[in-house]
């Protein structure tokens, strides 16, 4: 006699908590063949704004943490993912309809990607910063700092992206101290919310990563035009009216990374897209 399973309720992940959409809306998540998987929360404009508020309030703590600390926190995510490989692979098989081995490869790639970025946390400033030999008696140094709140549209392609795509955009943004609001894969959001559970039980402070499920087309314009969003990553927005999003972002000079095909490869450029270089001059004098 088989046991009756206990299905999970998939909600948003905002400010370290798992709220339903304030709109009360849900949408049906299915297998590629149409089988019912879950009712996911369909985030609204208000949810997006709440997420930005949560992200903003988390900036000072996260950006103020030591780089060593952030690196360990990111590595901790990889550790927890490793322990839940089976669950993630299972969700990928169900929602993407891919083979078990392809799903396992995606989970492995995601874990390795977190490890790769984790290692950058306390090195990036050394590579991206500079001591500058100015012509005068000044100590002059340039360092990268997080830009603040980054809104992200996660990669949306049919296969291979539901977990890896999310990691590929979230990890490079948060490792320098940014906080993010990320709109998950619309059709296959289960891995994203399960990742939220991992984040909630890892040492990532609440509000550093906020995950919205629902329609990127509906949510993205509110995030793009939001004055308290410092940067916009359109990685997965290729099928949206993304030029309008970039135009909206220009209103407050929001930094924009344009859509790109495929899943963003691990890269320093991606880290650098969401930092500001600060240069400090200090007078040198004996007295």
């Amino acid at each position: 006699m088989s046991r009756l399973t206990v299905p999970k309720t998939y909600k948003l992940y905002v400010g370290g908590a798992f709220p339903r959409s304030e709109s009360g809306r849900t949408y049906e998540v299915t297998t590629p063949k149409g089988g019912f998987l879950a009712n996911a929360a369909q985030a609204s404009r208000k949810d997006a704004r709440d997420a930005v508020v949560a992200a903003r309030s988390a900036v000072s703590g996260w950006a103020g943490a030591t780089a060593y600390n952030r690196g360990q926190v990111l590595y901790r995510i990889a550790e927890l993912l490793e322990g839940r490989r089976a669950q993630f692979a299972d969700e990928i098989v169900q929602s993407e309809g891919v083979s078990a081995s392809a799903a396992a490869a995606q989970v492995d790639a995601s874990i390795d990607l977190w490890v790769w970025y984790a290692g950058w946390a306390d090195k990036y400033a050394q590579v991206a910063g500079n001591a500058n030999p100015v012509a005068g008696p000044y100590f002059n140094i340039s360092v990268p700092e997080p830009t603040g709140v980054v809104a992200i549209i996660a990669p949306q392609q049919a296969t291979g992206a539901s977990l890896l795509g999310l990691a590929a955009v979230v990890a490079p943004a948060i490792l320098t101290g940014n906080t993010v609001v990320v709109v998950a894969h619309e059709r296959a959001p289960l891995s994203a919310i399960s990742l939220g559970e991992v984040l909630a039980t890892s040492d990532v402070p609440g509000g550093v990563v906020n995950i919205l499920t629902g329609s990127p087309a509906e949510i993205a314009p509110w995030l793009a035009a939001h004055a308290d969003v410092n940067a916009l990553d359109l990685a997965g927005a290729g099928d949206l009216e993304w030029v309008d999003l970039q135009i909206a972002a220009a209103e407050t000079l929001t930094r924009v990374l344009q859509p790109q095909p495929g899943i963003p490869a691990p890269s320093l450029d991606r880290i650098g897209a969401f930092v500001e270089i600060k240069t400090v001059w200090h007078t040198k004098a004996m007295r």
Binding site: Q106, A128, A265, S267, L268, V280
Partner: protein, 519 residues
């Protein structure tokens, strides 16, 4: 003769050998523009200095085509060391003709010769000298083993540091292997024309640098041109916003260096003599026409009265007048329009309840002048505390604790620069961490160096000019992202995409662009 009164010591304009009229500089030649020729005047006397050609859309098109040709046929194929040698030549020619350039700049811009001679022009030479050395070392710039030039750079610069901004734009662009079409500000084209002569003396290949003069519409035609790969703009946040919209949906790389409302924070333990000089230099340097000017003085409450008294005393010794006089500290406001804006905002300051003090200066009969002005009793909500005045007007705000200073300093949509005055090093560093601005000066202000990156946070724009980071603004990284070292599994699953840049804007995107620009 009263105390502090000096006999005039004007620098002679005889060193200049100006033409009555200057054309556009396209493909190595001076050519006529299709637009209406306009006057460039001295803001100190309102006398016409020369007539300047105006480029219309077709002229811009011709300039971009020349830049494209020379990029493809000459500049992108030339060795880095040869590109560097041209830049070294330019640096030397600027040094050789520095007196002439300094005089021309003071005449055309209205800023004092003391500044053009000691700041603007030496920095211009330094900028070319610095970037010259990068031209054959791009693989060490931190962008991977094979950084690539972008192509044709469209550059639009402001009137406050005409030749210096030109150098900030052209030197890194050329070092990185790009060609350039640059548009000087409408009121300050003169030194760009002299610079064109220098390029001819340097025998820089035709088309590598093209200069189109004219008003905002010329600049708009340039930055929205379909065949440019890079847009670099220094100017107002309003125009920067428009440009950011106009490049949306294209693969043009964009850097924007926009407005500011910098806080200059003075603690009670500051080295007071230096601080007073620093405050003066922070806001009255270049008549306050400085995007990174320390226009908000945040002074600790217990030293407020002392600082203000000493400031007033110091300002009373500044000499305003003939920009060409070597004794002049404060020159002319660059244009009638800018003077009007400064007057308007200053009047608003009084209307909103701030207390105005103006240095007792003799205002010349002709030209555009505004005496150094301090507003006290300013609230952070006042317009003079929020809006960029871009003139010799200082708004004074008090604070009690470092936390309050940080909160007030960051309470602005801008984030270009900030100053900190304290003898306590640990507090200086902690404060520097907390200030959201791209350049922080501690116990100094308004220092610039080609090796030092400059640029803003938030609505002060993005991208950096100067240093390695300024070079990166003109390069695409090449080589390492895909091979970045992530574990093999990640590489196969992520179907590594080396570059997100799309091959070009689609027709729809261009339409969207036009729409955006029209807004």
């Amino acid at each position: 003769m009263r105390f502090l009164e000096y006999a005039p010591a004007p620098e002679s304009a005889a060193i200049l050998n100006l033409k009555a009229e200057y054309g556009l500089f396209i493909d190595g030649e001076f050519v006529d523009g299709r637009g209406e020729v306009f006057d460039t005047i001295s803001p100190a006397t309102e006398k016409v200095i020369a007539r300047i050609a105006q480029a219309d859309e077709r002229d811009v098109d011709r300039a971009v085509a020349a830049a494209r040709r020379s990029y493809e046929k000459v500049w992108s194929r030339m060795s880095g060391s040869d590109r560097g040698k041209y830049l070294f030549r330019i640096a030397r020619l600027v040094q050789e003709r520095s007196r002439e350039l300094a005089v021309a700049e003071a005449l055309d811009n209205g800023k004092p010769i003391r500044e053009t001679r000691d700041v603007d022009v030496p920095l211009v030479a330094a900028w070319f000298f610095y970037y010259a050395g990068w031209a054959d070392k791009l693989e060490y710039a931190g962008l991977g083993p094979n950084p690539r030039s972008l192509g044709v750079a469209a550059q639009v610069i402001p009137w406050n540091f005409p030749l210096l901004m030109l150098a900030w734009k052209i030197a890194p662009a050329l070092a990185a292997g790009n060609t350039v079409v640059i548009k000087p500000a409408e009121t300050t084209s003169l030194t760009a024309m002299l610079f064109a002569e220098i390029l001819q003396q340097a025998e820089l290949p035709a088309g590598v640098v093209n200069i189109v003069t004219g008003p905002g519409s010329t600049g708009q035609a340039l930055v929205t041109h379909d065949d440019v790969n890079k847009v670099a703009f220094t100017g107002s946040t309003g125009v920067g916003r428009m440009i950011a919209r106009s490049v949306a949906g294209t693969n043009k790389k964009l850097t924007l260096e926009l407005g500011g409302k910098a806080a200059n924070i003075v603690f009670d333990d500051a080295p007071m003599d230096q601080a007073i000089e620093g405050i003066v230099n922070g806001i009255f340097f270049n008549q306050g026409h400085v995007c990174c000017a320390g226009s908000r003085l945040l002074v600790q409450e217990n030293v407020h009265d002392e600082v203000i008294d000493r400031l007033k005393q110091r300002l009373s010794t500044l000499r305003m007048g003939d920009p060409l006089d070597k004794n002049t500290d404060i020159g002319a406001i660059n244009s009638a329009a800018q003077l009007e804006r400064i007057r308007t905002l200053s009047d608003v300051g009084e209307e909103e309840g701030a207390e105005r003090w103006t240095a007792d200066c003799v205002i010349p009969d002709k030209g555009f002048w505004f005496a150094p002005t301090i507003f006290t009793q300013v609230s952070p909500a006042h317009r003079i505390a929020r809006e960029e005045i871009f003139g010799p007007v200082l708004s004074v705000i008090t604070f009690r604790t470092p936390a309050e200073a940080i909160a007030k300093a960051n309470n602005t949509p801008y984030g270009l620069s900030a100053g900190i005055w304290t003898e306590k090093g640990s507090r200086m560093l902690a404060l520097a961490d907390q200030l959201r601005a791209g350049v922080i000066w501690a116990n100094t202000f308004n220092r610039f160096d080609p090796s030092s990156p400059f640029g803003g946070y938030k609505e002060s724009g993005y991208g950096r000019e100067g240093g390695r980071h300024g070079l990166a603004a003109y390069l695409a990284s090449g080589g390492w992202d895909a091979a970045g070292g992530a574990a093999a599994g990640s590489r196969s699953a992520s179907r590594a995409v080396t570059s997100g840049a799309k091959s070009g804007a689609t027709k729809e995107q261009r339409k969207a662009t036009k729409k955006a620009v029209a807004k």
